[in-house]
Amino acid sequence: MANFITSALMFATLVVPSAVKEAKFFAPTRAADIGSGSQTLRLLNVEDYIYEKDPEDEGAAKNLVHQFEDYARDLGYTNVKVSYATTDTPESMFNELKISADNFDLICPSDYMIQKLIVNNMLEPMNIDAEHMPNYFQNASSIKDRLDAISAVNATTKQECFLKDYAVGYMWGTLGILFDPTYGGRDAEKTIEDMQKWDVLWDPDYKGISSIKDSVRDTYAIGLLHAYDKEFTALIDSYNKGEITAEKYNEEFSELFNSCDDATLEKVRKSLSKLKGNVFGMEVDSGKQDIVTGKIGINFAWSGDAVYSMEQAETEKELELYYSIPNTGSNLWMDAWCMPKSSQRSEAQKELAELFLDFLSIPEITAQNMDYTGYTPFTGGNEILDLTREWYDIRYDEETETFDDAIPTTDEIAEKGLQKVDLSYFFAGTITDENGVLLTGEDEKAACTFYTDCYLSNATTDAEGNITGGNRAVGRAFFCQFPDENTLARCAVMRDFGTQNEAVLKMWEKFKTDTLPVWAIVLFVVEISLFVAFGLYHFVGKRVKYKLRKKRKEEANKK
């Protein structure tokens, strides 16, 4: 971890330039008539969410969009140009599309926004299949299945549409609590213990040191998890006892996690009002820096931001931050590319867009993105595996830049406190040997297993390093980027609020606009009455004086 950035840069310079050529293996088939004339691919993404060249680093690979232009040229397209625009939130993407649907070929919103776009009949289905996107299908992790399963009913055609026809996964992650365990002289052991529950944000012991998100969906989620803590706890307990299966658990969790009827809204609003008095503040992007500078000690964070903060804290202040996905569960979010409906888009442009999405899933390219953004991609592959090993596996030797795939001895595991992390849910089916043959069985399992000293903190392990108990919720950057299957089971996708959207917003507005505190009301009333009194005195008094003077004058005249 110490040489995180250096090694990451090295990787980018060494591996990446050769990427584009090798990737030709999986070049998708294309129609014969495309490739003539110039074409522009118009993308809309959120900021800082794609690999861009560091201008000070001469040897680094080109901006990812320029690499795509080269890639398309090598495939016989002449003169492909990419125009790349950014915005800040999925909501503003929706706004942009409302203003003009014909401006973009591909946009990259979050799961719930894709649902909303489908409901509003604003998305075009794409050819998302192994023929058109071989790299995506070859390298996809099991997270893709969770994206594909999301559906929404198009309000115009009344058809249920699944995201598998509309969206190509890009990045995913969780929501959690990023914290500094020793903040304000606290006991690290106790803090780590406390942070395994969402209730900690409401805990007066941590008053005024945490920040939450100034965005309705994320903060709604924690309000819900707090308001129904009893139900969520009962659910996870029965899962832990083995009374219900992982699927059943996740189904029920997801159902509860997505409740947004009026009674629930009121309950959530009440729990959020209490939260407001206990937190330092609400932010959308200052928090990831504030926790590094020490303004706050706890930040309700997106996993990618958490990785960024951990890295910054470590390099700037030698401070170890931790990330918790509390035991009662959290939100699993996914960002995916989709195509806005447009009457002006030609078939050729559509194919170009699909080619781009496939290009993003070439492991070398994905690795650049993962390295640059700190977020976790949808697709695996050898390069992603190598990068992950380089960052987190203790068997990677930073000096010689080699990886020793021997399994550590039990002595070594005990001595270094190593944990064995199995990420086959992510990498299975995407790893090949040096001859390009897919690994299977035991070989694959070995390749997807990592030995690390920085996954979960305070967890108990057996002699082989398997995590057997103790803390399952709090970990470091590795856990943040690649939560284990156990953790993913207790994360659910938060669906679009649908018809309740307006009610949720109303609730949020109510939460955001407090009535004035008592002292302010008193002050306000006093000031206003002073003004009125002064005004009366000024105008009425003047008139009275004027009348008096007039009277006196008249009297004087009479005399």
Binding site: E91, S92, F280, M282, K510, T515, F524, E527
Partner: protein, 271 residues
Amino acid sequence: MKSNKGSRFQLFKRKNLCIPYGIFLVLFIIVPILIIVFYAFTDDNGVLSFSALTGFFTNPSKLNVLITSVFIALQTTLLCLLIGYPLAYFLADKKVNKNAVFITLFIAPMWINFVLRTGATRDLLTWMGINGGNAPYFATLIGMVQNYLPFVILPLYTTMLKLDKSQLEAAADLGANPVQVFFKSVVPQSIPGIVSACTMTFMPTMSSYVISDTLSEGKITLFGNYIYLDFANNLWHDGSFMALIMLVIIGISMFVTRNSGKEEKEGGAAW
């Protein structure tokens, strides 16, 4: 010869010189206002609708935010006057403020972008132990006063420079004590400055967005924040209606200001 000369400068006739601004006015002020009005009174299908209007007056959170905004704006204006008025009075004294160095010092913060300045204020206040976490109102007011103080000092300073000194002397000669001189002669003479200082502070504070958001850590929502919230959530009609309310309040305050200016028969408001 004469007529030739005239035609050569035809382009620079007074009337024509207004054309660039005229175009600007239409494109960036009139048309946007019309768009706001259009959105404020239509629904998603572009049909005439008063739902935004009824929504505004029946939604307690919107009325709440209006009250909070007026409160913050009033406090800011009063505090700015309280600090700025004596200051302007002293600065207008040529003996104190030789070569106008001091006044430059006081308005210098205006030259730095206020977003940057607010960010720095946030760090400073947090270091001092005042932050959105423990005192959101106090932190916001400090930021507001810091930001709008120059807008109060400058118009007051220009009116103070024009104070009729002989009137003050006459008052003193006729037996008024210094306090009476101040309240009976200085204050009435500086009313135009006070009025323009108030308009320069009150309305911008109500609609300000960054300062309250940054310094109260998102805990205080002002009118400007609320409009942004509506637009960010695709509620264009509600947002437009609130913007319209803002425009109406500005209109009213301009009207009041102009009338009080007439009353004083003094065009001394430099701002």
